[in-house]
């Protein structure tokens, strides 16, 4: 297993390299630059600014010098926030997004897995219909509707929590719920489907025949196979949750990375785009590796190839 993980971690390097290269040239091909402003800057000054950041050099040389810098862990200066480096911005905003993401994920997993398993085990019962309808509702109601609805009810009518901001512990509740419930709905649907697929199979019948308790059959035998679809969904989903959500951060005024992620693309803040993309790519690769390991661990017939 360790050899498998080690080999996969080695593959991270070329994958990241391709992503950085593709992103570097993609952002450069988008018209407009970081200093294209409403109020035009005199061309001489623009030239000076560009020379200061090395943007007047040929693209190939800029690319090479960028690669040299990130090899030393320096993501460069931001083009939009004066006097701030991309490292600082990420160090500032990432913890917020990580905290919100972890809370949402905990909420999503506990609600989604429980309801999904119950719905599959008690298939076509009232409980199944209730859980499935709730799941569909979670998918139908987009975050930009659920968020304001929760704010309206819990913050404005009941006055239990603040409508927005990120200061006290209770400020975490609504954003984490809004983001978590959407993912809970997905996890619930996928768990139910995966479990239904498994519950018919012969080895479950064998387990029943040998007299294992229903609880043991579900937790020890069925969940192993039933979780497969959820696990493959969770890899990229977790990367998405942890790097922040643009919509949630906008609704609740949270200083997270999700907004930087989207805004940097519109600001043509080249270095910040690359920095956030690199972070996201790293998470994607590592989490997809983790899901592959979990899959082998769940399925005794698979081996690390």
């Amino acid at each position: 297993m360790f050899r498998f993980i080690f080999r996969r971690l080695l593959q991270v390097i070329p994958v990241l390299f391709i992503i950085i290269t593709a992103t570097f040239f993609m952002v450069r091909f988008v018209p407009g630059g970081p200093f294209t402003a409403e109020k035009a800057i005199p061309p001489e000054i623009l030239r000076n600014i560009e020379a200061h950041y090395g943007l007047d050099q040929p693209l190939g040389r800029q690319y090479l010098s960028y690669l040299g810098k990130i090899a030393h862990g320096d993501l460069g200066p931001s083009f939009k926030y004066s006097n701030r480096s991309v490292n600082e911005i990420i160090a500032d905003k990432l913890p917020v997004s990580l905290e919100l993401g972890a809370l949402s994920l905990a909420c999503a997993l506990s609600v989604g897995l429980t309801l999904g398993v119950l719905a599959a085990v008690r298939r076509n019962s009232g409980l199944d219909y209730l859980a499935s309808s709730l799941g569909m509702l979670g998918i139908c109601v987009p975050t930009f509707v659920l968020g304001p609805l929760l704010v309206l009810f819990f913050a404005i009518h009941l006055g239990w929590v603040n409508a927005s901001g990120w200061y006290t512990a209770t400020d975490r509740v609504l954003p984490a719920l809004t983001l978590g419930l959407v993912y809970a709905a997905y996890i619930m649907r996928l768990t139910r489907a995966g479990m239904l697929e498994v519950l018919h199979q012969d080895y479950i019948r064998t387990a029943r025949a040998k007299g294992a308790s229903e609880f043991r059959i579900i937790t020890r035998h069925a969940l192993r196979g039933g979780l497969l679809p959820v696990v493959s969904f969770l890899g990229p989903a977790t990367a998405g949750i942890l790097t922040g959500s643009f919509i949630i951060e906008t609704i609740f005024q949270i200083p997270g990375l999700g907004r930087e992620f989207v805004n940097s693309a519109f600001n043509r803040d080249y270095t910040l785009v690359l920095g956030t993309v690199m972070l996201y790519a790293g998470l994607i690769v590592v989490l997809n590796l983790a899901t592959d390991v979990v899959q082998v661990w769940l399925n005794p017939k698979l081996k690390f190839a």
């Binding site: 593959q11 070329p14 994958v15 391709i18 992503i19 593709a22 992103t23 993609m26 091909f29 988008v30 499935s132 569909m136 509702l137 998918i139 139908c140 109601v141 987009p142 930009f144 509707v145 304001p148 309206l152 997905y186 649907r189 996928l190 489907a193 995966g194 239904l196 697929e197 018919h200 199979q201 196979g225 497969l228 679809p229 696990v231 493959s232 969904f233 890899g235 990229p236 989903a237 990367a239 643009f246 919509i247 992620f261 989207v262 693309a265 519109f266 785009v273 956030t276 993309v277 996201y280 790519a281 994607i284 690769v285 997809n288 899901t291 899959q295 399925n299 017939k301 698979l302 190839a305």
Partner: protein, 298 residues
């Protein structure tokens, strides 16, 4: 009906069994009332959105600023928005975009994702590793920039939106299919199929994929709403549908901003969106059950 079928020794040759599998599935689907209602509702909604605007005198951009936002009335069945535009007409036009993007992008995602994931999962080894690293790379590329680039090179075009969304939505589908195939290919019936000398293509499409249909169908019914909402997100960023044109996603988003003063602006688009998704889901569950050969026997 199943108890009347002949014992396995005198079953007709394989080809006929297969065609009767699909016929059986169709029979089972027709008996599932929820699935039939869901399918009928979907068909009805689609027809209404396509044909409806031809019979209406109002257009989606016709403003009536004196009227402003008005509650549902005889003249405007579902009320009007703040610019006095008829919500019913805007919903129908929006449905064309949303159903179009939902179905087209999902179809693209489904086709690519299932074939790609099945091949990677079945072949395994180095090919699988390379294919899945490519998926990792596409996952990580910044989507907003990708869409901006498409707009720059090809102009603002609704078809492009479908393509762009389809191009990212297949990735998770590929991962889900791959994990299912990897688990299934170790099972005895696949070993049996291989020892019979069946070709890889035949094993993948005839033996492996039908057994992975459950998660595929469920994830498809999850992709359609995700795609419609992604379109709303892109429109919000100014990269999707532009006013005065509407989509269900943009209508819901605008409604959410004014839900306290003019609740009908959120309620009607929200209800029709939910209704569509519920119908899709019931149809999907019905299809899943109808095609589940193992489940049908108990």
């Amino acid at each position: 009906m199943i108890s009347l079928s002949p014992p396995s020794e005198i079953r007709p040759p394989l080809t006929e069994v297969r065609s009767s599998l699909w016929r059986d599935a169709w029979h089972r689907l027709k008996k599932n009332r929820l699935a039939v209602i869901g399918g009928a509702l979907l068909a009805g909604l689609t027809m209404l959105c396509i044909a409806g605007p031809w019979f209406l005198r109002m257009s989606y951009q016709e403003q009536n600023l004196d009227l402003g936002a008005s509650a549902p009335s005889a003249a405007h069945w579902l009320g009007t928005d703040t610019l006095g535009r008829d919500l019913f007409v805007r919903l129908l036009y929006g449905g064309r975009i949303s159903l179009g993007v939902g179905l087209c992008a999902t179809f693209v995602a489904l086709t690519i994702g299932v074939i790609y994931g099945a091949i990677a999962g079945y072949l395994g080894g180095k090919i699988d590793a390379t294919m899945m690293r490519l998926v990792d790379i596409i996952y990580a590329l910044p989507f907003t920039i990708f869409v901006i680039l498409l707009m720059v090179f090809f102009g603002r075009n609704i078809i492009l939106l479908f393509v762009a969304i389809g191009a990212v939505e297949w990735l998770t589908m590929a991962r889900i299919v791959r994990s299912q195939i990897m688990a299934l290919k170790k099972m005895e019936f696949i070993e049996a199929a291989r020892s019979l000398g069946l070709s890889n293509t035949r094993i993948i499409f005839r033996h492996l994929l039908p057994n992975a249909l459950g998660p595929i169908i469920v994830y498809t019914t999850l992709t359609i709403p995700a795609v419609m909402l992604l379109e709303a997100f892109l429109s919000f960023l100014g990269l999707g549908v532009q006013p005065p044109m509407s989509s269900w996603g943009t209508l819901i988003k605008d409604g959410a901003e004014k839900m306290e003063e003019f609740p009908w602006l959120l309620i009607f688009p929200g209800s029709i969106f939910s209704l569509t998704l519920f119908s899709l889901n019931f149809l999907g569950d019905g299809l899943r059950d109808a095609l589940d050969v193992r489940g049908a026997q108990d």
